[in-house]
Symmetry: C2
Subunit: 185 residues, 2 copies
């Protein structure tokens, strides 16, 4: 656990959508099960959430899904890509980082505290290291059976505290949880 960064005021949050069986994308990254059903979704709170952060952190998995989008969805935000394999990026205001420590050092150096962490693997990494503060999960009303899971396996229990639960449109439900800080090792 990186207590130093926590004390420096890092507030890292995640905002994700899953199927009822806990997948954030199909095995090939496909989001058809998600984007196809959002016509009457209404206000998910995403715009407010996005406006509240100063930077994003994501890994290669999410990068590779997003790079095929017609439009880059994170314009105007600092982007930190955490990957040991990505060679280069042409995303605006983006940098590559080989380690979580380098991400954290960079955020600290740039005085960035409010961070949007995206992607199952990166979110799980932040959770495991005790660095995630809050997570909002919007659940689409479907079981897709296979895919990329939101959560990795953890070594020990991670306690959450529900902040809010509500129904969105299109049959979605949404819960926001605060991550209860783990006891120091």
């Amino acid at each position: 656990m990186n207590a130093r960064l926590k004390k420096n005021g890092l507030v890292a949050s995640a905002f994700l959508a899953t199927s009822v069986d806990g997948f954030i994308a199909r095995e090939d990254g496909g989001l058809d099960w998600l984007v196809g059903r959002g016509e009457t979704l209404g206000d998910t709170g995403y715009d407010d959430f996005f406006a509240s952060v100063d930077a994003l952190v994501m890994g290669r998995g999410t990068h590779d899904i997003v790079k095929d989008f017609d439009e880059y969805p994170y314009a105007g935000k600092r982007m930190l890509l955490l990957s040991t394999s990505l060679e280069t990026t042409d995303w605006p205001d983006a940098t590559l980082h080989r380690s979580l420590e380098d991400v954290l050092d960079t955020l600290e150096r740039e005085g960035i505290t409010r961070v949007y962490v995206d992607g199952g693997k990166t979110v799980s990494t932040f959770l495991r290291e005790g660095l995630l503060s809050e997570i909002t999960i919007s659940v689409a009303p479907v079981l897709i059976g296979h895919g990329i899971r939101l959560f990795d396996q953890f070594e020990s229990d991670i306690e959450l505290e529900v902040i809010a639960t509500r129904e969105l449109g299109s049959g979605f439900t949404q819960s926001t949880y605060r991550v209860v800080p783990q006891p120091e090792e």
Copy 2:
């Protein structure tokens, strides 16, 4: 898909609790992460649900967890155990069944239509066969990292329709879904 049984009026429902990461029990069947936090849970709707069914169907996995309970929790209900390995049972009003077909035939013969399906594997079997009508999932505010998953992997998407979502006590959230009937093959 067993359309005959559906037409005979079978209404099979599930009522389960999971962690936020989608587990119904630890790998050894442990429920400490669940039962330890229910003091202020309030009315989950379980009693009404239990009163509404005429029989239960569960597999060996759930049987082996429940058999270690201090008190048999399903007194007064017909119990059908779906297992290829269980040799005998001393549970009251319980019978052993080697196949889903035998379970369905037995329900039909006994004129039972309202059934409580329990356990991840059996719930997934009923879902896969298009036999589950409704599922209520209560989510405990914790990530346990490893364990027995609620849902197996499915070959194709299964559409759900949210009926209700609410917060319970103790930080639990609960959603009830109707299973949208799949097109006949």
